[in-house]
Amino acid sequence: MSDSQDEVRAYTVRLELVDEPGELLRALHPIADNGGNLLSIFHERGNMTPRGHIPVEVDLEATPERFEDIVEALQAENFNIIQAGAERYSEALTIVLSGHLVNTDLSHTLSHIQEATEATVTDLSLSAPEGTEDVSSARLRLATEAGNADNALAAVREIAAEKELTVVEPLTAGGDA
């Protein structure tokens, strides 16, 4: 990978927002104003930090120089930046979950997985040929930090065991074929 200062790279910023209207927009301004290209925003509404803040995760693209400006601008606006880094999400994992997905609250399962694995679910497909009351399957793609795939899988296994779901994992590292 080249270290060129002009190269656009992917970054993730985790912020804690005060629970007030307009806060999210206010946080996005410094990004756009400094030439960052927004990729996605994960707003964990209803999920408060112990200090009563709302965690938000923003994926963006920028050159390293512009990224520094963005972080400085956010700090100047008194935003609480928990983490800012390059290419946090550089490993994609595909897994299939099967079982009583709907009865065991799929959205809870997903948000649980995101929290526990520090990964983002970037893609979800559901197949419930017998209806949602019966056994169904979901294919998820998780974007996780480089080197974090094993931890992410371990967390998925634990959540699946709790909900009596079957996990079909990808092969572990090095086993791409």
Binding site: S98, P129, T166
Partner: protein, 317 residues
């Protein structure tokens, strides 16, 4: 060489039948209730005809096969867990007489590897067990040729029954129970398929590979393996995998001191996604990249050919 064959099931019978082809003489053949013994060579056809007609190969007590004249004992009694008996006792009896042992039975080397190696050290006889991993495929002899020290990991499809079921489910869009029943009709799955579909059989093979790779450093048994089977995989899971260019296979992995067996997503066109009852093992070598060995992982003559290849590797007494 003179061979005493213990077990007259699919494997033992084939070994007895094919031994002559490989230049060996069967001097004893036993099943659970009887034996036939002759230092100059038994009449294999007659013994197998007797088994067909009366349910046993001969009227002598089974233990007389252990006391017979032989150079190598071929152990082809059922694989058992825990104490691995009666197989382990047969291994012990042969080694104490300074005879060689060739195993088809996975129990002794999966559950009591260190005990087997300890007995072997005290004996002039050797123990070989190519047939225990992947039937006809030369997995263990390849590991031996490359030297276990230069192999960093192994993974593969090691159970034909589970693989048959998964590949039929994917190809036909059928459910697990339906395909299992079909496999049982075809004789691909046993009446009680638990060992195969719950991953135990594949795990035993992985444990054996782990033991060979670890050498004297560490002993593995089935308890060290994390095992999941395929019986809870619905058709919808295979469908979602296929949409994404993948399929599901029951994969055994030995890497970084871990032995794991479970359903895994593999790219549909990958070497690992063999179909039907075919097996494959991939070895990661330190200096030569990845090695794929595939072929028939089970069957009487297939397994017997691996047994007889081992007999051929033994030093002449």
């Amino acid at each position: 060489m003179k061979l005493a064959v213990l077990g007259a099931g699919a494997v033992g019978r084939s070994v007895a039948e094919l031994a002559g082809d490989y230049g060996h003489t069967v001097t004893a053949l036993a099943d659970s209730s009887g034996a036939v013994v002759d230092g100059d060579g038994i009449d294999v056809d007659a013994a197998l005809a007797a088994k067909e007609a009366d349910g046993t190969v001969g009227s002598a007590r089974p233990e007389t096969a252990l006391e017979a004249e032989y150079d190598a004992l071929v152990e082809a009694t059922p694989t058992t867990l825990g104490d691995a008996e009666p197989g382990f006792g047969h291994v012990e009896a042969a080694l104490e007489r300074d005879r060689h042992v060739v195993l088809a039975n996975k129990g002794p080397v999966a559950e009591r590897y260190a005990d087997v190696r300890a007995l072997e050290r005290e004996s002039a006889g050797d123990v070989l067990f190519e047939a225990t991993v992947g039937g006809a495929m030369p997995v263990l002899s390849t590991i031996d040729d490359f030297d276990p020290e230069h192999i960093t990991a192994a993974r593969g499809v090691l159970n034909g029954t589970a693989n048959f079921i998964l590949s039929r489910m994917a190809a036909e869009g059928l459910g697990y129970e339906h395909v299992l029943a079909e496999a049982q009709d075809l004789g691909v799955a046993e009446a009680d398929p638990t060992f195969d579909v719950e991953g135990t059989d594949a795990a035993l093979k992985c444990v054996i590979v782990a033991n060979v790779l670890a050498g004297e450093r560490r002993e593995y048994t089935l308890d060290d393996a994390t095992v999941e089977g395929i019986s809870s995989i619905p058709g919808s899971a295979l469908e979602l995998a296929q949409e994404d260019g993948r399929t599901i296979r029951l994969i055994g992995e030995v890497a970084d001191g871990d032995v794991r067996v479970g359903p895994r997503l593999v790219p549909e066109n990958a070497a690992l996604s063999v179909s039907g009852t075919r097996n494959i093992v991939q070895l990661e070598t330190e200096h030569a990249g990845r090695l794929n060995i595939s072929g028939r992982g089970a069957g009487g003559p297939e397994t017997a050919s691996a047994v007889l290849a081992d007999v051929g590797r033994l030093p002449e007494a």
